[in-house]
């Protein structure tokens, strides 16, 4: 019995250690300190600003808005379902590898996240909501991995967006849209160390729309089991060179039906994977 009480005490203490708040703030030690953000089952708007703090707030959905399919139907309240609120229970850990922030799912459908514009942000997520969406605007480097629905990334210097995969379940929703990228082959500086820069976007099912300036010098190395690539840019098919293969295999073991096209004779490498989605390379 004593053991049971002790276990209960520790469970309660652990629960309480996730402090409840309506706004979470954290400050970076250095501008190149990476931030690892874990968010699940929630949409998020992430936007860079001129401040030096990360500010996270929950945004309850607007009540009374019905989906189109519910026209003429009444909502039946499910017993025990808590009303939406703006309470988050964040936890944070900082070590030599960077700052880790975890926001567990709560009674809210969206997070509003403001970050320093210079941030190097890694997001890990399991998004099982059909209409879930993560948007990223005006930051330095973004790396999103997990089970994703829709993703939009605009105005960044570096991006990695990888969703789906068999171990996470085949998804069939959403679209990945990326635009206004500062195309460069300069290394990404993390914790003072230079890291190889390769732009990557990969999905299982989702269509991909990647906007590129017409004068950018870029190579696109891509693989698709069932999708096709379309473009309104002056792209040219090229052989998959050994160099491309090496770059590709730094990130993927499987290189089925690997293709490559170049824009303005190429320079910066971008890897694109979509097993089932259609790939659009758009003129910016």
């Amino acid at each position: 019995m004593k053991i049971s009480i002790t276990i209960c005490f520790f469970i309660c203490a652990y629960s309480l250690s996730f402090a409840q708040t309506s706004q979470f703030r954290a400050k970076l030690n250095r501008s190149d300190e990476p931030v690892y953000l874990r968010i699940d089952q929630v949409s998020a708007d992430i936007i860079g600003y001129d401040g030096d703090e990360i500010i996270i707030e929950a945004v309850p959905s607007v009540t009374g808005v019905k989906p189109a399919a519910a026209a003429g139907l009444d909502e039946i309240i499910l017993p025990g379902r808590p009303k939406e609120d703006n309470i988050i229970k964040p936890s944070m850990r900082e070590d030599t590898s960077g700052l880790s922030i975890n926001i567990p799912p709560g009674n809210f459908s969206k997070l509003s996240i403001r970050v320093p514009k210079s941030i190097i942000l890694f997001i890990r997520t399991d998004m099982n909501l059909i209409n879930g969406k993560i948007t990223v605007n005006n930051i330095n480097s973004i790396d999103i991995e997990g089970t994703l629905a829709s993703v939009e990334v605009h105005n960044v210097t570096n991006f990695v967006v990888q969703g789906g995969g068999w171990h996470q379940g085949s998804r069939a929703t959403g679209k990945v849209i990326i635009s206004d990228v500062k195309w460069t082959d300069a290394p990404v500086i993390i914790n003072g160390e230079p890291h190889h820069r390769t732009y990557i976007v990969g999905t299982t099912n989702s269509d991909i729309e990647l906007s590129i300036p017409a004068d950018a010098k870029a190579n696109f190395i891509f693989s698709s089991d069932y999708g096709k690539a379309y473009s309104n840019l002056d792209v040219k098919a090229q052989d998959v060179s050994e160099e491309f293969m090496i770059d590709y295999k730094r990130f993927y073991h499987r290189a089925l039906a690997l293709k490559s096209i170049s824009l303005n004779n190429g320079k910066v490498n971008t890897i694109i994977n979509s097993s089932y989605g259609t790939i659009y390379l758009k003129k910016e």
Binding site: M1, S4, Q41, K66, P67, A69, A70, G72, L73, D74, E75, I76, L78, P79, G80, R81, N128, L129, I130, T147, W166, Q168, G169, S170, R171, A172, T173, T204, N205, S206, D207, F222, S224, D225, Y226, G227, K228, A229, Y230, S231, N232, V235, A237, L256, A257, K259, I261, S275, Y276, G277, T278, Y280, L281, K282
Partner: protein
């Protein structure tokens, strides 16, 4: 302490009993070494067979019941969904072969007597998505396993009046003029993580259902991780409806009378009777919305 342990054992045992889903009784034991057959038409005489198991991988299919004794499978490449091409865009690259009009299949078992037929239609790397029309005797017990990941792709089941068990994931899954019992377990390899967006059930033929020894079997038992579930019920249908929706909402225009929650209490579970209650309709939609509407 003993009382607490005993009580916890009973609660866990009771809860576990609710986690069970209706399963057909014939073992599905695929033998992958069977040769792949390519044919313009696949036809199997299945009169007297107890269960048909068909596994379709990365191809859409329309299953339709009819009055014959054969299963007839035809490929229909025209029905494959074309990619949406934006104005001003042209094809930059593709590794795909065009779809053909052949049925690619392996017969895994085709025993004489009642054991049944099981066959698989595997995916072919590099080949464009296929589409199949599958005619099945409408009174046969059918199990269909599938995975299709193409955006907007649809699996459909129509005019089937015996037990139907469906396991897999496709963006849209529709059932029309079926009498149940229907078990739909949406997900992949039992992990219950699927990419289904919509499950639509209409023209439920409850009056023709063969209940016999299946009194305790739900008329519909739907499990989905992502998808919305949209069920139209005939005006005269008598049903007891149990909905679990962890993150989704429930919408309805049925005259449902809410029932007192049964023990053990489950969060976000609604139980209601339509026309005084009747066969169970069980819906577990973890992340999707549930729509229950009057048939029009």
């Amino acid at each position: 302490m003993k009382r607490i342990v005993t009580l916890l054992t009973i609660i866990f045992g009771f809860t576990a009993a609710f986690g069970q889903t209706f399963q057909t009784t014939v073992n599905y034991n695929p033998k992958r070494e069977q040769p792949l057959v390519e044919s313009h038409l696949a036809k199997f005489h299945v009169k007297g067979k107890e269960l048909i198991v068909i596994d379709v991988q990365e191809a859409t299919a329309n299953f339709e019941g009819y009055d014959g004794d054969d299963i007839v499978i035809e490929a229909d490449p025209v029905a494959s969904k074309p990619a949406v091409v934006l104005p001003g865009f042209s094809l930059a690259s593709s590794g795909l072969l065009p779809s053909d009009n052949l049925v690619h299949y392996r017969v895994l078992t085709n025993e004489p007597g009642v054991f049944g037929l099981s066959l698989t239609i595997p995916y072919t790397t590099g080949l464009k998505f296929g589409h199949y029309k599958v005619l099945v005797p409408k009174n046969i017990k059918l199990k269909v396993v599938f995975v299709i990941s193409e955006l907007g792709a649809k699996m459909s089941f129509k005019n089937l009046s015996n037990g139907l068990e469906v396991e897999g994931t496709a963006p849209v899954i529709t059932f029309d003029h079926i009498s149940g019992p229907l078990t739909l377990s949406e997900g992949i390899n039992g992990h219950r993580i699927g990419g289904t967006e919509k499950i639509i059930i209409s023209h439920l033929q409850q009056s023709n259902a063969q209940f016999d020894s299946l009194e305790d079997t739900p008329l519909l038992n739907i499990i989905t991780t992502h998808g919305d579930v949209d069920i139209s019920l005939p005006q005269e249908a008598k049903a007891t409806i149990q909905v679990d929706a962890g993150y989704g909402n429930l919408y309805s225009d049925l005259n449902m009378v809410k029932q007192r929650p049964a023990f053990p209490l489950v969060k976000s579970r609604y139980t209601g009777n339509v026309n005084g209650g009747g066969r169970m309709i069980v819906i577990n939609a973890a992340n999707g919305n549930v729509y229950l509407r009057k048939e029009k």
